[in-house]
Chain length 312, copies 4
């Protein structure tokens, strides 16, 4: 197997095309999330994949320009936005260790006095959102502005129907927020925090949008406009947290199969980073039992196998 | 910061020398493990670090030729030896997800019906040893022969005093083994298994030995003599498991700070892999509260910072 | 030791006087609950004890007519009021097993899918209150009316300052309520439920009031006015739940030392039942580390020792 | 319903006969324990029940003279024998709180540093056996001698086949014993302890034997020969532990339904105590999902309903 070293424009397009062709012949796709109607209505056969070069070139296959519900994929960006403002103090309020338990678990939170294990489990993302909210007064607005700027897509927006559905089914997250409040680890009122949190989750974006928006992680912290969001060390750290904690209780399996920092969402999206080289976003709404896109993981697995671009 | 790209012989020696000098000026070193006398007697000021190039060149600083108790560092090699024989069937008996709990925890084992979370917690290493024992009749002997061959050091050996002490303090591991037996996940008699396991842990080896012995992980599965131990994919997988699970309950922190696949032991040793580039072994017996060498983690942190060789 | 068999009026008064005298000479009293100001302000030297005969005769020692915050002692009455209406269907929504964990634990709730272990842990009391609220539209009002009728004290009332303080410090209970909502085990809106719950806890009543109000448990289900609240079997069941679950994580210890069905509250009150014979209420605000009144448990321990009236 | 107050000889025989008749018409019986052949071979339709008066009169119905495997019922006697020698010091090594978890759970043991919650879960019984072994050199022999003396049955004995089967399937108990050894809470060598423990469990005794042997608990600590085994207070305490912890994870349910101190075994036996009045033993090998005899619990439930002899 040869490792690709070319960096000519759209160099990986044939690889993406081969992957799309292989995926199209694969029967099983898992099932879309069904806890809210908007997600349940997705066609599990949908598939899109985009790759963004560090210079902003983006290309893709399948439904790579189709917006979908970004959900937990947004947790990466919220983390980066808060880390950029707050720095290491954040880590006194949320850990960076894998959770070793399903993503909603309250158990570990109780044993560790209200400090979530990492920023990508729901409890941790609530803490990060809470802190960004305190610093900005509008965490969701900050996130939206960032995603629009990095993707160059001013039409990117919240999906109010999804946000409303999330709120209506948000008892578990409300429990987490109140629980951490009881430990003094949440500053804002719970209803305000949940509103910010669910609006973030509701953002609709395409593979192209999210691959571009992730670009700062391949560029060691530099935004699309050349300004610095994160220090080189911080960008490395976000990638590390993605690799060890980015795919719920399957982070080890994802590292083992794909070998790239990645973050999934229950909308079926996954972003992945090849540090220094490129970022990817793949979308297919059918999920496995651990909440990760079946075709999405398979596509990324094929990508690192075909290109040799695993970090390992 | 420049990223080093040279591959000339001993290219990293100045970096190692700088690290050793910095470490020598650092006061705190943690405390040696004290559960057995042989470990408790170690001087926490001891420090050695070795780097092995893929071609077998090895060099180092400090006490890099001083044998120490390899302890859990050996779990990587036992895993590789069993995986080479058994392939993916192994993963039906041990997981590859981070444990999210202290390394001796029985809790997760109970909730997951006797299947340990990964091969690097004690329960998982017992399973791997048990399976290698079933396939070879002498797991510890296989491991010793492999380490001697890869390091080119025929004097490398078990430390019988350490093995005897481990056995005398082995109640927790005996509990784990009996517990997994009750789930049908251990084949050999518990006393036989524990004898094999503790002999493995007792192996005394130097930084030079272990850096060389890890070389197959930088060479994508190829042994020192050019023969293949693991497939390219399997070597990638072992690195992935090291990154996500290699440093007890601090795997996320290690990935965040160091950004390399690594495996630590309570003897104070840590091995780390720069895939395709080199392997490292650092030793300093003072441990932090999670069981990892304080100076060892600091040295590897400095190494990736100075060279830019983090996988992220 | 003789077992008292007399039933003449005020037969136990000398026993109560002896206990009060002994308690007055005991130095250590524990510390009042300090999570809300109204409880923290209590004098740990306060002590009162009342005994009610089945015929409604009541007498006591110390501050036995001084109102205090009934807190979790009210859980017994809410349970009885709901059980009277709903019968065994209640037990599909709350268990009757000891919790084996501190009284606020979310862990067990998660492992048992939102069904609390028993009606006396906070989660279980929230479920009982929720169900009584659904059936009556005013759970707290029902409880207050019942306590006034049984105690013959029309001045018995909620303490609005305490209720407001509880609400302000109610994050943990809010978490529990939302969490059970996520399992479909709560019917009412969480803020409505919490308001009902905290008003119940806030009720101020004296030892005399609560000893009298517990009388139906000594009379096998018969209220003060001769009407039946619970069947004989249900009254027995409430006593059984009190004995096994009534004193947080110290139920075994309470059974072992006192040997009577009892229910404690963090206000320092404890009620106890001698089935067929009498009911007791003791109050002293200093708590042990498990949340039970130090002098209260000691007084009841002495009572069963002096009278031989333990159920064992 | 009238409460029986007569104490004439065999006064309860008609009640037992009615119960046996009712049980004989009940279809479901649960399933015998199947982890060892000797238990699995039992006929789930078997049923026997015996009642012993404090004066040593014993009578029964059904197969009340048929020996069966006493199993965990013996834990009561071992507890009493150790408590008689050691007194309260025992409670520094084993708790007296309900476990709130299945009877083999290691979780709680880990969180509580090797101190079992109570003497009737397996871990706790191992600790009690270990301590009796240290004090006598032959815990199982002491137990056997006691049971022979109290029952007046010199033929009562260990069942060597059962003990051997238990040992062969004893991995879980071996794990518990090694685990507690690691916390310093076991004094004897694990194989010696397990041999003592399994021999105790293997004792074959009839309902008549066990009802008589329990008599000291109805007689407030006095043995059949009039000598004192336990103080009045200690006898009360053993009854309290039986009520709160005697039927695995169903202690609350047992208290709720039966309302008597009781102790069950997986052989299908249950002993129960009416303090000051009588002791009962019922046997039927079919178990419910929590390990208690289905017909046994039903028979005791009927007994307290028909006689009003619940402690509540």
């Amino acid at each position: 197997m040869a490792i690709m070293t070319t960096t000519s424009p759209a160099a990986f397009l044939p690889v993406l095309e081969q992957i799309a062709e292989e995926i199209s012949r694969t029967p099983g796709r898992g099932r879309p999330a069904d806890y809210i109607p908007a997600l349940a209505a997705c066609d599990p056969r949908s598939f899109g994949m985009a790759l963004a070069e560090p210079d902003g070139t983006v290309y893709g296959v399948g439904e790579w320009r189709q917006p979908f519900s970004a959900q937990s994929v947004t947790k990466v960006f919220t983390l980066a936005l808060d880390l950029a403002r707050e720095g290491d103090e954040l880590w006194e309020h949320v850990g960076r260790e894998p959770s070793g338990n399903p993503f909603n678990s309250l158990v570990q939170l109780e044993y560790e006095n209200g400090i979530p294990r990492n920023p990508f489990i729901n409890a941790g993302a609530l803490v990060v959102t809470d802190r960004l909210q305190t610093r900005t007064g509008d965490a969701a607005g900050e996130l939206l502005a960032f995603l629009r700027a990095e993707s160059g897509n001013p039409g990117l927006d919240f999906d109010r129907e999804v946000a409303a559905s999330e709120t209506a089914h948000g008892a578990r997250n409300a429990a987490l927020a109140h629980f951490m409040t009881s430990y003094g680890n949440i500053d804002n009122d719970v209803p305000v925090l949940l509103d910010q949190y669910f609006r973030q989750c509701s953002i609709a974006a395409s593979c192209a949008d999210l691959a571009l928006a992730s670009g700062f992680l391949a560029r060691h912290g530099i935004r699309a406009d050349g300004s610095r969001l994160l220090s080189r060390s911080q960008a490395k750290q976000v990638n590390a947290v993605m690799l060890t904690c980015g795919t719920y209780d399957a982070a080890g399996d994802f590292a083992y199969r794909v070998g790239l920092p990645g973050k999934s969402g229950v909308g079926g999206g996954i972003i992945a980073v090849v540090p220094g080289r490129c970022t990817l976003c793949v979308w297919s709404p059918g999920l496995d039992e651990r909440g990760n896109s079946v075709a999405g993981v398979a596509a990324l697995d094929r990508f690192t196998t075909l290109t040799g671009l695993s970090v390992f």
